[in-house]
Amino acid sequence: MKALIEKYFEGETSLEEEAQLRAYFSGGVVDDELRVYQPLFQHFSEERGQSLSSDFDEKLLQKLDASEAKLVRMRIWPKQLLRIAAVAAVLVVAMIFLQKTNAPQAQQASVDWSKYEITDEQQAYEETVKALRLVSSKLKKGSKKASEEVGKMEKVGKYFN
């Protein structure tokens, strides 16, 4: 055993021989001469038996989820904002339509619209085109604004990814 100890301190022992040393020093009888090394190998044996408490994984995963949720919240926020912006855009468009359609109706009672009624076919066509253009320009404005906002959101989103 003494020779094996010397071999150990020379850094020449195999893993099996090191296991033999640990077994020797944790057993009952140890040579007086070698007793000084007993704490070393006892320490190794003791440390080898150490492990984390059984609920470590559970506690860790909870912590990871908590820190993950914080990150996800930050990442989700622009998406929610986009949704809000989209709903707002729809509402704005709807309000424009309602205003355009409601306003003349309110005046209908007092104004005799038949006087302004277009009878000429060509004129009617031109007026229709004009009206459609107006609607189209409003829609374009809305979608342009929306795409600008999406662009901005994407830029902001990059910082959260």
Binding site: F9, E47, D57, L64
Partner: protein, 163 residues
């Protein structure tokens, strides 16, 4: 890295890291805190992890550094300036401050005072039971260097025991 990778690649080394931390801080509860902090740090930085070639080596280094920080702050808490603080006291390093009452913690104390690489290698060999090749891979240290460090570490510990 996702949850699955974390569970299959990182969690299996938790007890090794725990014993690493324990070897420095000396108390199981604190060592457990260290490992938890290391894993949270790793998880929060997982986007950058692909750039790290050896995650285990990263974990060991992080565990060691965090354990030393913990020991230092604990030492500062326990040793207020008024209570006989001596600037000339050369023994007042965190390691030496760990007063050992029994022989086994004396060994822990001896090991914790070894230079970083020597300590890491002795820990991986004598406590974790890794082969030289595995130690070389884990710490990114050439195998012949592993043997030299181990030889020096054991020699220093032996000298400490024989005093």
């Amino acid at each position: 890295m996702n949850h699955h990778d974390f569970k299959t690649k990182i969690l299996p080394i938790k007890n090794r890291l725990f014993r690493f931390a324990l070897g420095i801080v000396g108390q199981a509860a604190e060592a457990e805190d260290v490992v938890q902090e290391v894993f949270i740090k790793l998880w929060n930085n997982r986007q950058q992890l692909d750039a790290i070639s050896n995650v285990e080596a990263w974990c060991i280094t992080a565990t060691r550094n965090l354990s030393i920080d913990k020991l230092r702050s604990k030492h500062q808490r326990l040793q207020p300036m008024a209570a006989g603080f001596d600037l000339h006291d050369q023994s007042a390093t965190p390691y030496e401050a760990v007063v050992s009452n029994d022989v086994i913690s004396q060994v822990r104390n001896l090991m914790s005072r070894l230079p970083e690489k020597q300590r890491d290698i002795m820990q991986l060999r004598d406590i974790e039971g890794l082969s030289y090749q595995e130690i070389s891979d884990t710490l990114d240290v050439p195998m012949d260097q592993v043997k030299v460090y181990l030889f020096r570490a054991r020699k220093a510990v032996r000298a400490g025991l024989e005093v």
